[in-house]
Amino acid sequence: MKFSLKEYPLLVWAARDILRRPGRELLVSACLASVTFLIAVALLFSQAMETTWNQLMARAPDLIVRRIDAGGWAPMPAEAAVAAATSVPGALAPTPRLWGVATGPQGPVTVVASPGVIPETTQQGLTPPVSGQAIVGQGVTGDTRDRRLILTGQDRLQLTIIGTFPAETGLATHDLVWMAPADARRLLGLSPGQTSDLAVNLFHEEEEAAIQADLADAFPWPVRITGRSDGVLRHHQRAVHMGGIAVVACVPAILALVWIVAGTAATGSNQQAHWGLLKSLGWTTGDLVRLQISRAVLLSAPALAAGLASAHAVVFYPPAAGIAAWWITGSQRLPALVLNRSGAMITLLEIAALVIIPYLAAVFLATVKQVANEPWHQMMADPWN
């Protein structure tokens, strides 16, 4: 159906139809906006979470090589491990990692020592800790008083907090305690020259599965190799799972949409006499269908736009994002979600189509069915007759 300036009088007529029953039409419009909002929040939030996690996981090492024994993991000699990994073609920049889990004042924290020099652009004013100092994530700062932090691992360690990771880095640093390598070794019970495990990057990411056997053979002790793709898949499943639960919570909203569509189809029977009158005055069936479609577009287009815009704001703008975070994750913390432009646009268009197509189809089919009769029959359909 092509709209042009010639359609303007029809639009005005449709608007007059709306103004004849403003309360009822406003209710339909509000229902359409609410349905759109609820479905869009659920789908946009899960998509944004997956995009955010994928972006972070893309920065993680391709492979982690960890020495194991019968009782669990074991530390590995750093130099020998690096030499073994370097001998495998395709394995790039093997980096010994010093990390572990220690008990903090209120629970376990992730202890980490920097595996290399951290660029100044990343540090954002933070000075790398020296022995006896620590930089902690936002989740750890609440545990501390007078800038002292006591951690218990293989040994007990008291550190002075010299800085806190910025809040916007929470997804990577929330539970981290960054300390000097010597302190980390002491806390985790590692000897000098030992490392927790080895991070390996690959020349071709596609070789992740194939290179694991070669890498395992290159080490003189049993190792377990974990690939990044496993983590990406796990996060994808988690995002889909949460999105699915949120959509299930929207079932009442979807039922409301069905109710609106059914109500729209039923409305026509009350207006048969009115349409019959218009037809007897010269209106054609096409005119009446266009009038009803115009009325439906006038009602649904602003509602749809308002619903989509509200959902976009609630997912991607921090002050409002608390609502979505609380609804879907039950958390008080607001993850800084990443917007995937093409993905979000496709999702918005899909939701718009999901809501507006059934509504317009119901209007079209109901109108065609009702106005295709002769005017005389339609006027006789009035309850007074």
Binding site: V12, R59, A60, G107, G116, F165
Partner: protein, 95 residues
């Protein structure tokens, strides 16, 4: 019987000012919202995740901090590849 008479004859059957205003508001509001959404999609920059990503690269953790420290989901590399002797694999949950 008193006959009805039309005192004032008008060319338009009913006032359309309100209806015209409603059309204008609907079109303008929709266009404004769509334009704002499109602009935001085009110019938005997500600084937070970029900064967090830099720290992921520098400190090389294997997963974001979505789960508590010490759990297998937070540190998947710590899961020991033991023989699967669970009574009903898949019944347990690590969440």
């Amino acid at each position: 019987m008193k006959s009805a008479s039309i005192h004032k004859e008008t060319k338009t059957p009913a006032p359309c000012k309100g209806a015209g205003l409603l059309v204008a508001i609907a079109v303008a509001a929709t266009a404004l919202v769509v334009f704002s959404l499109a602009t935001d999609l085009l110019i938005r920059k997500d600084q937070g995740a970029t900064v967090a990503g830099r720290w992921m690269k520098s400190l090389a953790p294997s997963a974001p901090t979505l789960w508590s420290a010490g759990t297998p989901l937070r540190h998947p590399e710590t899961v020991h590849p033991g023989i699967d002797l669970r009574y009903t694999a898949g019944m347990e949950s690590a969440r």
